[in-house]
């Protein structure tokens, strides 16, 4: 007697909840999702191609612009790849400093994730609380490298400068304050019945499917796979630190939320260990002024960015410019999981899921 027809709506590229310029084509049956098709490319700047026309040193600022919420992680992957290409050994002090900054970046990035994820689900106050703490992280980055968002904080062979005077004390003050702040967020969200209703059982993905889709980072660990580059292919001196890799049991949005909250605490733990055992010594290895790797050399280097496995593949043709730079961005792969995750859920869940897989469009489109 009644016939319903499917409604096709465009979510984005200008939409309050798509974290940038993601466009989702939703096919709805009432409020239920029949199909989600992500359409990407609105932020494509051709960074990979641009990199082929820059000297090795000049590519670092470009990598800042990939994942602008975690620019340090992108710097790290690229610089690490060049070092691997050249066979440069990074001095121990620089390694420890990189770990400190990388984990601080993880905290900052997870805070912005928490802010936007909370806002998408409708908890708007958490947005400003998380931004308040993130602001302190950015202040620390500004004190270290002079920029708040696009750091360009690494050089091939090490780090460009020492921590300024008083910086480690400021960092410690921030870390002392962090657990009480996280406890506040947890009071607002973790136990809240609305939050649990909105996240539990939403976007369940089992380990097999998640691995098959190439998800990485907290999105994969939510399904119970303990894959973390810091553990399975340790870079810098990560093998010296004791820390936990939180994994989930059910693979839903709530698990991914709990994991990221726990990762902030673990990052704090790593930073404290690294500050405790900060070795002395040089911070920049000797690298030739003009970087010309041998012809045909190639390197693949991966780091655990806050969003997952961020890796860079470099090929040299013997000149001072890379022949090919390939960024394997976690956001791009994680976004591929969205159609699978959101099948059968409702419009409101798509929004929660975009927040849950934590994408940054600069990183998806490159």
């Amino acid at each position: 007697m009644y016939q319903t027809s499917e409604l096709e709506i465009n979510m984005g590229p200008q939409h309050p909840a798509t974290h940038g310029v993601l466009r989702l084509v939703l096919r709805l049956d009432g409020e239920t999702i029949v199909e989600v098709k992500p359409v990407i490319g609105y932020l494509h700047r051709g960074v990979e191609k641009l990199s082929e026309n820059r000297g090795y040193r000049s590519v670092t600022p470009l990598t800042d612009r990939l994942d602008y919420c975690a620019a340090f992680a992108e710097n790290h992957s690229y610089v690490g790849a060049v070092e691997k290409l050249l066979g440069v050994e990074v001095p121990p002090r620089a390694q420890a400093m990189r770990v400190v900054l990388a984990e601080l970046q993880r905290i900052a990035s997870h805070l912005i994730w928490l802010a936007t994820h909370g806002l998408d689900i409708g908890a708007m106050t958490i947005f400003l609380y998380a931004f308040r703490e993130r602001e302190k992280c950015l202040d620390l980055f500004e004190g270290y490298c002079g920029a708040r968002l696009t750091y360009n904080a690494l050089r091939i062979g090490g780090v460009p400068q020492e921590f300024p005077d008083g910086w480690t004390e400021a960092l410690r003050r921030f870390l002392d304050e962090l657990p009480t702040r996280i406890a506040q967020y947890e009071t607002l969200l973790t136990g809240n019945r609305i939050w649990r209703l909105r996240t539990e059982g939403v976007g369940v993905i089992d380990a097999r499917t998640a691995l098959g889709l190439g998800l990485t980072g907290p999105t994969l660990r939510g399904s119970g796979v303990d894959y973390d580059v810091r553990k399975y292919a340790p870079y810098e001196n990560y093998r010296d630190y004791a820390f936990d890799i939180p994994v989930g049991s059910k693979g839903d949005t709530y698990d991914r939320y709990l994991i990221r909250m726990e990762e902030m605490r673990q990052s704090r733990r790593i930073i404290l260990q690294a500050l405790e055992a900060l070795p002395d010594g040089p911070i920049l290895a000797k690298v030739a002024g003009r970087i010309r790797p041998p012809k045909g050399a190639e390197a693949y280097f991966m780091t655990e960015s806050p969003r997952g496995e961020m890796s860079v593949y470099l090929v040299s043709d013997g000149t001072d410019k890379p022949y090919r730079v390939r960024f394997r961005s976690p956001c791009f792969n994680n976004l591929q999981g969205l159609p699978t995750l959101s099948k059968g859920h409702m419009v409101a869940d798509v929004v929660a899921l975009i927040g849950s897989i934590d994408i940054v469009l600069g990183c998806v489109d490159r």
């Binding site: 820059r54 973790t190 990560y238 093998r239 709530y254 698990d255």
Partner: protein, 175 residues
């Protein structure tokens, strides 16, 4: 293999019925916002930007500028073109002329396109002048102006800094 170990995150148990009925966790959440309200009344975290400004860190990277020799007052730039080469956005252009003393060269015109500059600071690091770098990252970060051509900063502006934009119509922000 590092010392990292995987730990399964425990999920909080479902709430007991009496907690659900008396909205316990909701009231806890509301107490957090109330605490912030009582303090936020007097101590907002935000800054009223045009009037109040946050202090900049000494290492802050604003737009690049040029400087003279601190003692002699000569131009430091010796046109080694390292900055031009390393700049990832290709925003630096230098025209050179022989130095009047007959030794070396000096820039006849030095142009930085502030519209393209991404403030990465690589130019200041690469600068090969002696004894200090000629190009440095200033603390200027406000660039509003009334024309695109005004962003192609040349030597006058690079040495003297940014003049205030010409007075436009209307009030300046914040009275």
């Amino acid at each position: 293999m590092s010392e990292a170990r995987a730990v399964v995150i425990p999920r909080p148990a479902p709430l007991p019925w009496w907690k659900r009925f008396f909205l316990v966790e909701m009231l806890q959440g509301m107490s957090v916002t109330m605490k912030h309200y009582l303090r936020g009344w007097r101590e907002p975290f935000t800054v009223q930007y045009p009037e109040e400004r946050l202090p900049l860190d000494p290492r802050f990277r604003g737009y690049p500028r040029l400087r003279m020799h601190p003692e002699t007052g000569d131009e430091l730039c010796n046109v080694c073109r390292q900055c031009e080469k390393i700049c990832p956005t290709l925003c630096i252009a230098i025209e050179e002329e022989p130095h009047p003393s007959g030794k070396g060269r000096r820039p006849r015109q030095f142009t930085v396109d502030y519209e393209r500059c991404c403030q990465c600071g690589l130019c200041a690091e690469a600068c090969g002048s002696d004894p200090i770098s000629a190009i440095y990252m200033s603390h200027d970060y406000e660039l509003a102006d009334y024309g695109r051509d005004r962003f192609r900063a040349q030597k006058d502006r690079l040495y003297l800094g940014f003049p205030a934009p010409p007075a436009g119509k209307g009030k300046a922000p914040g009275k």
